[in-house]
């Protein structure tokens, strides 16, 4: 029997799962859409992972990260629940111990992590708007009638990217419509979009941060060749994109699950586990907290959202 560790990264757009062994080898991985239902997505994810996991492995640790980390952490009884910034840094450091800068653009958020001698020295996350993230790109792809996956290839074709005022998602969209209506070619608009994502990222998240090579670019958007190209062009540095760049958060949390293992064995079987949440509003005081009660196998395991601590 061999030990293995599961890391699950539940993001806004996609859910990622990775199983690693003691030597950081990826045994199996999965990448599916969250579709607004993290619990169902994780059930599906586990089914896929279970199918591909060789029989001789036993799961010795589970870690969750991403925006639904707390919820899924309770569902899977994870031994570690960590924020995505730490998870991404740990994941990247496992494969690239010399990395200095991590650029990460996900579905709803983007972050920059600066590293020196293997420890995080500074980080930032977008605060105001989604104009520099993947959801912006995917919604614009839909508007232009092409697949998000083809986006990068289109961008590479362009010789003359248009300028798009991308301060904010909504205004960028109006500008985009305008550019299309006055007759710019599709690939030029797409290239302009990719460039505007890069500029927005550097002006918002990257503001005041010293970007030193080696630079690693990850998150779902790193699969977009157009964005990578403009990062290279604007930063005038080489950008490394790992083939598992979209899984880095899940790998990081799996590594953390191994470091914090308790000796327990975990099951990936979720068929017999019922998991539900119940939301209600408390009217004891004018705070009117939105409370969420979480039930696992019809047993209350946690409740969130209370300001006073009554629940």
């Amino acid at each position: 029997m061999k030990d293995c560790y599961l890391g699950v990264d539940i993001g806004s757009i996609s859910t990622k799962g990775v199983i690693i062994d003691d030597d950081n080898n990826i045994i199996t991985s999965a990448y599916i859409w969250t579709e607004g239902n993290p619990v169902e997505a994780v059930r599906k994810l586990l089914d896929i992972l279970k199918l591909n996991l060789p029989k001789e492995y036993v799961v010795k640790g589970i870690g969750t990260t991403g925006s639904a980390r707390k919820l899924i952490g309770l569902m899977l009884k994870a031994n570690i629940v960590k924020n995505e910034i730490t998870a991404h840094a740990i994941g990247t450091l496992t494969f690239y111990p010399n990395v200095r800068t991590i650029l990460e653009i996900g579905g709803q958020d983007s972050k920059i992590i600066l590293i020196k001698n293997g420890i995080i020295t500074n980080y930032a996350m977008n605060t105001l708007c989604a104009a520099g993230t993947g959801s912006f790109l995917s919604s614009q792809a839909k508007r232009l009638g092409i697949n998000a996956e083809e986006f990068g290839d289109y961008a590479l074709k362009s010789k003359n990217p248009v300028k798009i005022a991308a301060r904010c998602t909504v205004f960028a969209e109006s500008d985009l419509v305008h550019k299309a209506q006055v007759g710019y070619a599709k690939e030029d608009i797409i290239a302009g979009l990719c460039k505007s994502v890069v500029l927005n990222y550097l002006n918002n998240v990257g503001k005041g941060k010293k970007i030193t090579p080696p630079i690693i670019f990850q998150g779902g958007v790193s699969k977009n060749k157009g964005v990578v190209k403009y990062f290279k062009e604007i930063l005038k540095e080489d950008i490394i994109v790992d083939e598992n760049s979209h899984l880095m958060g899940a790998i990081g949390i799996a590594v953390l699950a191994r470091r914090n293992k308790t000796g327990n064995t975990y099951s990936l079987e979720m068929k017999n586990v019922t998991f539900s949440t119940k939301a209600f509003e408390c009217h004891r005081c004018p705070n009117t907290c939105e409370l969420l009660k979480i039930y696992r196998n019809d047993k209350l395991v946690d409740s969130w959202g209370s300001k006073c601590g009554k629940y």
Binding site: S67, K82, N83, E84, I85, T86, N117, G118, I119, I120, T121, N122, Y123, M125, T127, G208, C285, P286, N287, T288, C289
Partner: protein, 354 residues
């Protein structure tokens, strides 16, 4: 009948109520309800959109007090946009149809005792200056003692062995303080509680994390407006250093400015308004001493702090200290703050264990 009210901030409603109820014994003092989501909703609804958040909080409490029947409101002013709060709030309340008098004790950045006396006399002609001086003295002492005890709590609350022991004792202390009637009484209560606080068992490891909180004064002092940041840090077993409190603002700020300026003269030459220059000096202090990280908090659109932020960033870069900025507004997402705070904590932990 006169019903007096004033905006909320932290636990300072206790000394303020004490003072007002003693110098105006025949008038009613309306205690502002605790700040809740409704307060900020009311404030946001009736404020200009891009005004700093304390304006919204104080306006919200004022409206809540007026709904409870208050007809005299007391507001102050300061060396930034705070200096215009009272005038603007009076206009807004008038437009909303409230019939009240808003008294601004500090205008044009100066608190002249003569002027304050005159204004207080307007509230009630029976007001006596001698009495006000006596109770004013006790109030100042009360503020000082409360701030001292808070300082002790901040250093130790993260390490309490029995959960909630500090918070429970503090609640008891506040109740006792609100029933004080003489200086002797206050001093005894202070000594008694200080001993009790010191007796609470704590486990403070040598390699504990120490964080300094700097930033805009209202956001720093009103826990609701910073989403209970200090509580959150205490949960992670962190020792907290905070500089700003009311005692500092009233009695230390003015003469400390020169010292601060000398101490950090390479970073600023002229006063930057409100607490901006103080925070630059404090940032340098935290960097030079054995603090593991710095958290800078402000309300959104706080202009002096926006001016100070690049300098603070530069200082932290020079000394290689982790620094994080938070901006709080009625539209700030709590989850976003928690994620960033968790990452900050992990980062400090990683650095410490290296």
């Amino acid at each position: 009948m006169t019903k007096i009210a004033f905006p909320q901030m932290g636990d300072y409603y206790i000394p303020a109520t004490f003072l007002l109820s003693h110098i105006f014994p025949n008038d009613e003092i309306i205690k502002a309800p605790k700040i809740t989501s409704k307060t900020i909703e009311l404030g946001t609804e009736n404020s200009p959109e891009f005004v700093c958040t304390p304006f919204k909080y104080t306006l919200g409490t004022m409206i809540e007090c007026l709904d409870k029947g208050a007809n005299i409101l007391i507001q102050m002013g300061g060396g930034c946009r705070y200096g215009y709060y009272a005038e603007l709030q009076a206009e807004i309340l008038k437009d909303l149809g409230y019939n009240c008098q808003l008294i601004n004790l500090v205008t044009e950045g100066s608190a002249s005792l003569k002027r304050i006396n005159k204004l207080l006399k307007q509230i009630n002609p029976k007001y006596s200056k001698i009495k006000a001086m006596y109770y004013g003295f006790i109030t100042i002492k009360m503020v000082k003692y409360m701030d001292e005890i808070d300082d002790y709590i901040r250093k130790n609350i993260g390490f309490e062995i029995e959960k909630g022991s500090f918070e429970n004792l503090k609640e008891q202390m506040l109740i006792t303080f609100s029933h004080i009637n003489s200086y002797r009484n206050l001093y005894k209560a202070y000594k008694r509680y200080l001993k009790k606080f010191q007796k609470i068992k704590v486990h403070k490891p040598d390699n504990r994390l120490k964080i300094g909180i700097i930033g805009e004064l209202y956001t720093v002092m009103e826990p609701f407006s910073n989403y209970f940041l200090e509580k959150e840090l205490a949960k992670h077993h962190i020792e907290i250093k905070r500089f700003t409190n009311v005692h500092y603002l009233l009695f230390e700020k003015a003469h400390k400015y020169k010292k601060y300026q000398k101490y950090s003269k390479e970073y600023f030459t002229y006063s930057m308004g409100a607490d901006a220059s103080d925070n630059i000096a404090r940032c340098k202090y935290l960097c030079e001493n054995d603090y593991d990280g710095i958290i800078h908090i402000k309300s959104s659109f706080c202009t002096p702090e926006i001016g100070a932020m690049p300098i603070i960033n530069k200082i932290a870069n020079t000394y290689q200290k982790p620094l994080i900025f938070f901006s709080f507004d009625s539209a700030t997402s709590e989850t976003g703050i928690q994620t960033r705070l968790e990452a900050f904590y992990d980062m400090l932990e990683m650095r410490k264990n290296k």
